[in-house]
Symmetry: C2
Subunit: 260 residues, 2 copies
């Protein structure tokens, strides 16, 4: 058996989340159905770098599976895409022997997309979080800076989880403004349940002046989800990348910094 | 009774077309359901400038209705939007006494959107027609120029229609290239069934070299749909605007021309 890693893009708006579940359409369910067909089996297991909630999108999500088939790596995407529905797309495949899509993840990047526009843009309702008023980006950047580094993120994630250790490291939180298109890019060692959406909701409250940027250290310290902001809606959130080595992460971070 | 004209944006991907029909979701059905609620009636009629097929979008489609309610025009959009599903949006409303959304239409504009990209963009599958190879835009422009002015467009529209007079006037057919985003803008006195999609499909065959730009006069002359190109898919097509006076049309055309 060889282990393959594939990278998936998916439009989360038609799924009840990444993870397979009975009587609900899931990305994993569709991927494993395609893998089962290729292997002429009743089912075929796969392991993702992580799960996303209903409505959350994937830009380049890694998934591994073991296979006895000797298909050249460049043929896997087309073979799988011909069996997948049109809201999932395999972008690439590579050998991944001896590694694990979840356990070997060194860091992840999520992006959260917003559209600042008075008039509702119905064509993007599944793909951005639309805001009518422009928030104060400087205040949001000052707030986010308090989260960089290693902290207990209990206050900024959902308590509905079995995960006990809530300490994670944030490498970068960048707010980018491109006309009416705003993006927040989060790069961290890992993310807790709904953490990016709670962070985004909290930053927006800072941006609209209902919360102060310098209240962030006390917020983290308190470890109480009820003291943070509202969970921002799923439609703006994209799992962007997963890094499997410190070098891959460093290369990506160097590419982002303006002095590169 | 006062007559009101509203302008609608709608995402056609969730509808079996504009026109009301039994057992299928339609834009007209949703709009009339909202109007019926506002009027506390079982149903409420409306008249659109025209119909669009399943999957075709509306950017600013005019619809009129008569009403005994004395609601100020600026309140109508919010009132209707609160009753409409999230894939239809009323942008504006204005008094329209003595006029008719369909019969008084002087001209219409459609846009057809394409994305030129090797890798499939699943997020835009309902909103653009994706092409892997770049067509020859100069050849397409030369072909389109043969359609300007007044012609019988039998060859470039579906024969599945009761419309007998197939003579229409094309005021402008502009191909715009903006990086990988291509748009064809069609402005004409009126458009026959599937005419914009057949025109686009024919232009693409010219762009890919399987048909010559200078064969267009003979194509029109022959009046035979079977001699034109394939019907381009619905997802790239948007009804953009309808003009109710020569002045409104002229103002718009002046705004488009580079020397304006």
């Amino acid at each position: 058996m060889n282990r393959m890693l594939i990278h998936l893009a998916y439009d989360g708006s038609g799924f009840q989340g990444y993870q397979k579940q009975p009587n609900a359409r899931s990305v994993q369910g569709e991927v494993e159905r395609a893998l089962a067909k290729m292997h002429k089996a009743a089912s075929w297991p796969s392991v993702s770098s992580g799960r996303t909630d209903a409505g959350v999108h994937g830009l380049c999500q890694p998934v591994h599976f073991d296979t006895p088939l000797s298909i050249p790596e460049e043929r896997w995407p087309r073979a799988l895409n011909s069996l997948l529905p049109d809201d999932i797309h395999v972008q690439s495949a590579e050998p991944f022997d001896g590694r694990h899509a979840r356990y070997d993840a060194e860091a992840k990047e999520y992006v959260y997309r917003m559209l600042i526009a008075e008039e509702r843009d119905i064509f993007r309702r599944h793909y951005v979080h639309q805001l009518r008023q422009k928030p104060d980006i400087t205040a949001m950047r000052r707030a986010a800076a308090h989260w960089l580094g290693t902290h207990d993120f209990s206050a900024l994630s959902s308590p509905r989880t079995d995960v006990v250790d809530k300490v994670r490291t944030m490498y970068a939180i960048d707010l980018e403004e491109n006309g009416p298109e705003w993006t927040i890019r989060f790069i961290g060692s890992g993310f807790l349940y709904q953490m990016v959406r709670v962070m985004t909701g909290t930053l927006l409250e800072v941006g609209y002046g209902s919360r102060r940027a310098d209240s962030m250290p006390a917020l983290l310290e308190g470890r109480d989800r009820r003291t943070a902001g509202k969970t921002a809606p799923a439609e703006g959130l994209y799992l962007s990348r997963v890094f499997y080595s410190p070098e891959a992460l460093e290369r990506h971070m160097r590419g982002l910094s303006p002095e590169a």
